[in-house]
Amino acid sequence: MAELPGTFEQAVMLAVVRLGTGAYGRAILQELQARLGREVAAGAVYATLQRLEDKDFLSSRLAAGTAVRGGRPRRYYTVAPSGFRALNDARSALDGLWQGLPWPLAGGRP
């Protein structure tokens, strides 16, 4: 099995999958904040996107910017085949760990 992505890396890749063709920096940040229910620092997202590209889990392309951006380009991300494999492996690993256990676990409840 290839290297499994970390939890935040998985969250970023799943945000890219959900956003489809509209997955650029700001949209990914907003999707993550909505899904995770917390503030996410822009630096954490961009650093993770870069790392995932370095691992060949994501690929990106530049597209023309809009007026509100001052004409600056957008970088759109897509999940690469190795990224999909890594996500599937991570899900399988987690499912295997949970197999046979009740959910939610009772021990942590007050």
């Binding site: 917390r38 620092a41 630096g43 509100v68």
Partner: protein, 225 residues
């Protein structure tokens, strides 16, 4: 004064300058575009001008890696050392002289703590905050020491007239100013730099704790809408 329309509002210049200087060239334009877009469309109408400017500054600082922050701080300190020792060699005993070290030291400790605060915002981990403080301290102090080493060797005639250098020579075993200064640099590299790096780690961890206490980081729960 007439307020600009949100779609024309300009983010703080200092933050834009930091973005240009310290963010990798590949993503500089696209990240700046994302931030400006969000600043104009969402943050400015919601938080107002002052709040939006603070937001923009926080986002930009979160983009700067500890290594780049440390190197940038090192460059500033090295330039300060060069200005003090070469351009004004005898003023107040030179930059980093013993007359006024305390204010610079306090500023440095605060900056190392700020690096920890930013790292905590990004990761939510105190270990990362301590590591960030240590990296910034190590790089900035190593560059400063390198600057003093180069200055002392390249401008020996100038620096050997400084009172603290004369004092150092008098209290050393050697009669050679260059050898005395280089021995002092070697001692600094071996003993002082690790201590300062450890101090950076402590400051970074303190910055992380401050971020945690302020509840201002990535792991803050958002208010339900």
């Amino acid at each position: 004064m007439i307020e600009p329309k949100p779609e024309e509002a300009v983010p703080p210049r200092w933050a834009a300058a930091v973005l240009r200087l310290l963010v990798a060239a590949r993503d500089r334009e696209t990240i700046a575009g994302d931030l400006v877009e969000q600043y104009r469309e969402e943050i400015l109408p919601r938080l107002g001008r002052a709040g939006a400017r603070r937001w923009y500054g926080r986002q930009v600082l979160s983009l700067v890696s500890s290594a780049r922050l440390g190197l940038a701080l090192g460059v500033v300190l090295a330039l300060g050392a060069a200005a003090g020792d070469v351009l004004l060699p005898l003023a107040n005993g030179g930059a980093g002289g013993s007359d006024e070290p305390a204010p610079i030291g306090v500023v440095l400790l605060c900056l190392w703590g700020a690096a920890g605060y930013l790292a905590w915002q990004k990761t939510g981990r105190l270990a990362a905050a301590a590591k960030a403080g240590a990296i910034v301290a190590l790089l900035s102090m190593a560059m400063t020491m390198l600057a003093f080493f180069l200055i002392d060797n390249l401008f020996l005639d100038l620096v050997s007239r400084q009172p603290e250098k004369i004092w150092l020579l008098r209290h050393s075993q050697s009669q050679d100013m260059r050898a005395t200064l280089n021995a002092a640099h070697a001692r600094g590299l071996l003993f002082v730099l690790p201590l300062l790096t450890a101090a950076g780690a402590v400051c970074g961890a303190a910055g992380g704790v401050a971020g945690k206490l302020a509840g201002n980081g990535r792991f803050r729960r958002r208010a339900p809408r």
